[in-house]
Symmetry: C2
Subunit: 131 residues, 2 copies
Amino acid sequence: MTKRIKRRSDCPISFALDIFGDKWSLLIIRDLMFKEKRTYSEFLISEEKISTNILADRLAKLEDAGLISKFRCLYSLTEKGIDLVPVMVEIIRWSANHDKKTGAPKEFVDRIKHDRENFIAELTMCLSTGR
Amino acid sequence: MTKRIKRRSDCPISFALDIFGDKWSLLIIRDLMFKEKRTYSEFLISEEKISTNILADRLAKLEDAGLISKFRCLYSLTEKGIDLVPVMVEIIRWSANHDKKTGAPKEFVDRIKHDRENFIAELTMCLSTGR
DNA sequence: CTGTATCCTTAGGGATACTG
DNA sequence: CAGTATCCCTAAGGATACAG
């Protein structure tokens, strides 16, 4: 089942928000990107407790938008999805800066500050080689 | 009127999404950050056509979250809001990479690629000095 | 295990009128 | 101009049962 999205304007921020501007999509991306989750049931057991219908809906939308792909019940990030790594990294950095309770590991944030470019290249390569 | 937000987990991505994970908040940030909008009526006339009740709701939430502040009916970004510049820049870069129709100016994207760090520092300074 | 389907509640949102 | 208030509708979301 495909889930089309309506476009509000030609603004690049608006374009991105039309795709992942909600409370759940980026959590699924996070689980694929940083937690090596790949199956439906693995996504279900996140700390935020997504419900089954919402999960199915977002998986379909993300697949339709070309951020993730599915092969025999295993989900993975596409190139377009992997290219969100810098966005995710900056969000994590922002949260680490402005929330004392956030679970972002200190070494992670320090590493970003220290050598952000290398980190992104490295992580992207690591992700694109499957596993 | 203050608008509190419920927290879903201690994850930094989730923390950020709880604050600006919707279709409108980052558009208001965009208008403050890149379009020098500062008044209620200026926000209202965006291309995406936000309605009055939603605008009032998001302004209250963003103010409560400490991303924007209000002084005599003029809104501006706080330090916490200005610190979203790298996030916004990466979103714009991502959209420019994956959408042919996006309105992101070529020079803007090239400039990011060429010297991202300088760009951010410069823009942040420009924003923090008011105007 | 991977989803669908259903029921129900709440939140988001559009339109428009109205107030200080 | 800067919002509030109201009406009304749709989308989002939680719970849970069910199917392949």
